[in-house]
C-alpha cells in the first residue's frame, strides 16, 4: 500500500474533537476553524452549540457526529480540504486539556532560609499565601501549575504575607509575572529583593 493510500485510509476512520458553534441544514460550524458539510442522512439533531462532540470525516470530508472518545484528534488536525468554508486565518490551539506550566523562582541570598515561598495570583484576589512553592535548593523554588491551554495567570511572589512581597532591583513594586497555559511552558523569575529585606 502506498503512503498516500495509508493516509487516506487513516483519515477515513479518524475522529476529531470539535466544539460546534452552529449547525444549520447540512452545515456544521466548527469553533476556531471552518465550516464542515454533514454526511448524507445526518442531521443537526443532538448538536448543541458550545458543547464538544466528536466527528468522523469520510473520504469526501463530510462529517458524522460521534460519541466523544479520548483518542479523538484536536480540531487543528482536521484537513483544510474538508472545510467547505475554510478560514483565512486558522486557530492552532487545542484547549481540550490541562497543561503543566512550571514556575521557577530564584530568591536573593538574604532570604531567611526557613521561610516558605508562595505565589499570589489574581485567582484569590491576590492572597499573599495562595500556593506554597516546593523548595529545590537553598535559593531555588519551583511550582508546577495545571492550567487550561491558553490560560494566562498573573502572579507575584511573596514569603507568605503582603509585607514580604517581592520588589524589583529599584525596590519598587514590579508588574505581575504571567504564567501561560502552553505545553511545557516554563518561566523563571529572579527576585532581586523583598519588601521587608532591602
Amino acid at each position: 500500500m502506498s503512503p498516500a493510500i495509508v493516509i487516506i485510509a487513516a483519515a477515513a476512520v479518524s475522529l476529531f474533537r470539535i466544539v460546534p458553534l452552529a449547525c444549520d441544514g447540512d452545515r456544521l460550524v466548527v469553533a476556531g476553524a471552518g465550516v464542515l458539510r454533514l454526511a448524507d442522512g445526518v442531521s443537526c439533531a443532538g448538536i448543541v452549540p458550545g458543547r464538544a462532540i466528536a466527528v468522523a470525516l469520510d473520504d469526501a470530508g463530510r462529517a458524522t457526529p460521534q460519541r466523544l472518545s479520548s483518542d479523538a484528534l484536536p480540531t487543528a488536525k482536521i484537513p483544510r480540504t474538508a472545510y467547505v468554508l475554510a478560514p483565512a486565518v486558522q486557530r492552532d490551539a487545542d484547549e481540550t486539556t490541562l497543561v503543566t506550566s512550571t514556575i521557577d523562582v530564584l530568591v536573593p541570598a538574604r532570604t531567611p532560609p526557613s521561610d516558605d515561598i508562595y505565589l499570589s495570583t489574581e485567582r484569590t484576589s491576590w492572597s499573599p499565601a495562595e500556593v506554597r512553592m516546593d523548595r529545590v535548593d537553598a535559593r531555588h523554588f519551583r511550582l508546577a501549575l495545571r492550567l487550561h491551554r491558553g490560560a494566562r495567570v498573573a502572579f507575584r511572589v511573596t514569603r507568605g504575607s503582603y509585607g514580604t512581597t517581592e520588589r524589583d532591583a529599584a525596590r519598587t513594586l514590579p508588574p505581575a509575572h504571567i504564567a501561560v497555559g502552553e505545553p511545557d511552558a516554563h518561566i523563571t523569575v529572579v527576585i532581586p529583593a523583598w519588601a521587608d529585606i532591602d
Binding site: 452549540p49 541570598a109 508546577a144
Partner: protein
C-alpha cells in the same frame, strides 16, 4: 486611631477615590448556566444566552463565550443582535464588549462584517480566531452561576454563585471575582492571619471593597473590612478595620507611590486601643546601589529614624558576593529613652550609626550529590551614649534530591548578639536577686548568667515529597539551642511540623499544616494548625 492620623488617611483616600468611582459595568451575561474558569478568564453561558451591553445592545444565542482577557464575545447558534430598531442574525456572531467591530458567520455564505450600529454588513475575511469557543469541562469550572455582570479589566459579579466540586457546590447569593492585576490589589493594611478569605463586596477597575473572614493567632475568629484604591502598579492606598469576635479592633492604613524610576514612597499606620504606630519610608536606587529612609512614630511618644545606603552585591572569588550597608539615625522616647538611668530625661533622643557586612556563597555542589549555600552577616551599631550592639549571623542550607519527587533538606542557623554598655553593663543587665520564675513556676537559675549576650542556634531537617504537580508532603524537624532558653522561656527546643498540599477536587486545593512543640513550658506538646484554600 486618633483624629489627626485618621484625617490624613481618609484625605489620602479621598484624593484617589474619584478615579475609582468612574468605572462601571459594561456588560452582563445571563444563561441557563453560566460557568467561569479562573485560569483562562473564560465566561460561558449555555442553555440560552443573553448578552446585554452598556450601550443598550442586546444579543441572544444558544450559547455564548466571553474572553475576559480580550473582552471579546462569541455568540453561538441562532445568534441575534439587536440595537434600537436595528438587528442582525447569523449562525455565529463575534463582537467586542468595548469595541465597534461585529463579525457575522453564516454557514452558507461565509463571514460579513458590520459595526455596533448594525448597519449593512459587507463581506469580510474569515478569521477563525474570532470565532473560537473553549472546549472545557463544566465540572472543573471555578464558579457556576446564572448571571454575570462584567466590569472590563476589573471584575465579574456572579448572582448567585456556586463553587462546584465533585461532591456538590457551596452557593452564595453574590460573589465578586476580581481579576485586575494592579499591584495595589495585592496590598493590605490588615495584619497577618492564620487564615484570610476575602469576599469582594464592590469593585471597579481601580478599587475594591472586601470583607475578610479571618482566623488570627491569639484572638481567633475575626471579621475585617478593607477598602483598596489602586492606580496600576504605581500607587495604592488601603484602609481596613479588623474586628475579632473576642478582643479589640485594629485599624490599618497602607499606601505606596512610585516616584519615577528611582524612587518610591510608602506610608502605613496601625491603631489599637493601646495607641497608633505610624511609619513612612522613602526608597531610592542608584544603579545597583540604593538607599532608604524610614521614620516611625507612636502615639506613646516613641519615634525612630534611620537613613541607610547600601553597595551593590559585589563579586568575590569563587562566586561569593559581599555587600556593605551603612546607616545613621536616632531613637527617641518622650520622658527619656534609657529609663535605667537616674537622669533618663537627659536622653530622650539617642543618635546611632551602624555598619553591616553581608557575604553569601552561591549554591555549590558538594559530595554525595548534595548542594550547599551559606551566608555570613556581621553588624555593629554605635550609639551616642556609650553603647554598642553587635550581631554575627551564619546560615547554611544543604539539599539532596533522591529523585525528582523526593528531596531532603538540612539547615543550620546561628545568630550571636551582644548588647554592650561600657562601664554600665550591670546597670542595664543586673544580676537577678531572686531566680527568674517561669510560667509553670520552675526557677531558671541559669538566667543569672545573662548579661546582654544572646545566642540563637537552630538545626532543621525537612523531607519533601512531591508525587505529582498538585500534591506535596513535607515533614520538618527543628531543634533549637539558644541562650537564654529554658523550659518555656525562649523558643521550644523541639518542633515537628507536617504540611500537605493537595487538590481534593478539580477546582479547589488545600494546604494544611500541623506543628507540635514538645516538652516545653510545662506542656507535653502544643499543636498548631495552618490552613489555606487555593483555586
Amino acid at each position: 486611631m486618633r483624629a489627626a492620623p485618621a484625617c490624613v488617611v481618609f484625605a489620602a483616600c479621598a484624593v484617589l477615590l474619584p478615579g475609582a468611582a468612574s468605572a462601571r459595568a459594561s456588560a452582563s451575561l445571563d444563561g441557563g448556566t453560566v460557568v467561569f474558569f479562573s485560569d483562562t478568564l473564560a465566561l460561558i453561558a449555555r442553555d440560552g444566552a443573553t448578552l446585554t451591553l452598556a450601550d443598550g445592545t442586546r444579543a441572544r444565542a444558544d450559547a455564548a463565550y466571553i474572553d475576559l482577557k480580550t473582552d471579546r464575545a462569541v455568540l453561538a447558534g441562532h445568534a441575534r443582535v439587536v440595537r434600537g430598531s436595528e438587528a442582525v442574525s447569523a449562525d455565529a456572531i463575534a463582537l467586542e464588549l468595548d469595541g465597534d467591530r461585529v463579525d457575522l458567520l453564516d454557514a452558507s455564505t461565509g463571514v460579513s462584517r458590520t459595526t455596533r450600529r448594525l448597519g449593512a454588513a459587507t463581506a469580510a475575511e474569515f478569521d477563525a480566531e474570532r470565532f473560537s469557543f473553549p472546549d472545557v469541562d463544566d465540572r472543573s469550572a471555578f464558579i457556576r452561576s446564572r448571571h454575570a455582570t462584567i466590569t472590563p479589566h476589573a471584575d465579574v459579579r456572579f448572582k448567585p454563585a456556586a463553587f462546584p466540586t465533585s461532591i456538590g457546590g457551596l452557593p452564595v447569593p453574590s460573589y465578586l471575582y476580581t481579576y485586575a492585576t494592579g499591584a495595589g490589589f495585592g496590598a493590605t493594611s490588615l495584619a497577618g492571619a492564620t487564615f484570610d478569605q476575602p469576599y469582594g463586596l464592590f469593585g471597579t477597575q481601580t478599587s475594591l471593597t472586601a470583607l475578610h473572614a479571618r482566623w488570627e493567632d491569639g484572638p481567633g475568629p475575626a471579621v475585617a473590612l478593607q477598602q483598596q484604591v489602586v492606580s496600576g502598579d504605581d500607587a495604592y492606598a488601603a484602609v481596613s478595620l479588623d474586628q475579632p469576635l473576642r478582643g479589640y479592633s485594629v485599624h490599618g492604613f497602607n499606601a505606596y507611590r512610585r516616584l519615577g524610576t528611582r524612587y518610591s514612597a510608602e506610608a502605613d499606620a496601625s491603631g489599637t486601643i493601646y495607641g497608633t504606630v505610624m511609619h513612612g519610608a522613602l526608597t531610592a536606587a542608584f544603579g545597583a546601589a540604593g538607599g532608604r529612609m524610614d521614620y516611625t512614630r507612636t502615639t506613646a511618644g516613641a519615634s525612630s529614624y534611620t537613613a541607610s545606603l547600601r553597595t551593590p552585591d559585589e563579586p568575590l572569588p569563587g562566586g561569593l558576593t559581599w555587600r556593605l550597608t551603612g546607616s545613621t539615625g536616632f531613637d527617641a522616647q518622650r520622658g527619656g529613652l534609657l529609663f535605667e538611668l537616674p537622669d533618663a530625661h537627659n536622653y530622650s533622643t539617642v543618635w546611632r550609626k551602624g555598619l553591616d557586612l553581608f557575604v553569601a556563597t552561591p549554591v555549590v555542589h558538594v559530595p554525595f550529590g548534595a548542594t550547599l549555600a551559606t551566608t555570613v552577616d556581621a553588624a555593629r551599631t554605635w550609639y551616642a551614649f556609650p553603647h554598642a550592639f553587635d550581631t554575627l549571623s551564619a546560615t547554611a542550607t544543604a539539599s539532596r534530591a533522591f529523585s525528582k519527587k523526593v528531596t531532603l533538606f538540612a539547615g543550620y542557623q546561628s545568630t550571636w548578639s551582644a548588647d554592650i554598655y561600657p562601664g554600665t553593663q550591670t546597670l542595664f543587665y543586673p544580676t537577678p536577686i531572686t531566680p527568674l520564675l517561669l510560667p509553670d513556676g520552675t526557677p531558671y537559675y541559669g538566667y543569672a548568667a545573662f548579661t546582654g549576650a544572646r545566642t540563637f542556634r537552630s538545626q532543621n531537617v525537612d523531607l519533601q515529597v512531591t508525587p505529582d504537580p498538585n500534591t506535596a508532603y513535607r515533614l520538618s524537624v527543628v531543634h533549637t539551642s539558644d541562650f537564654p532558653q529554658f523550659d518555656g522561656f525562649g523558643r521550644p527546643v523541639w518542633e515537628v511540623r507536617g504540611d500537605v498540599r493537595f487538590r481534593p477536587f478539580p477546582n479547589i486545593g488545600l494546604d494544611v499544616g500541623r506543628a507540635y512543640d514538645f516538652a516545653w513550658g510545662g506542656t507535653r506538646w502544643q499543636p498548631r494548625w495552618s490552613f489555606a484554600i487555593t483555586p
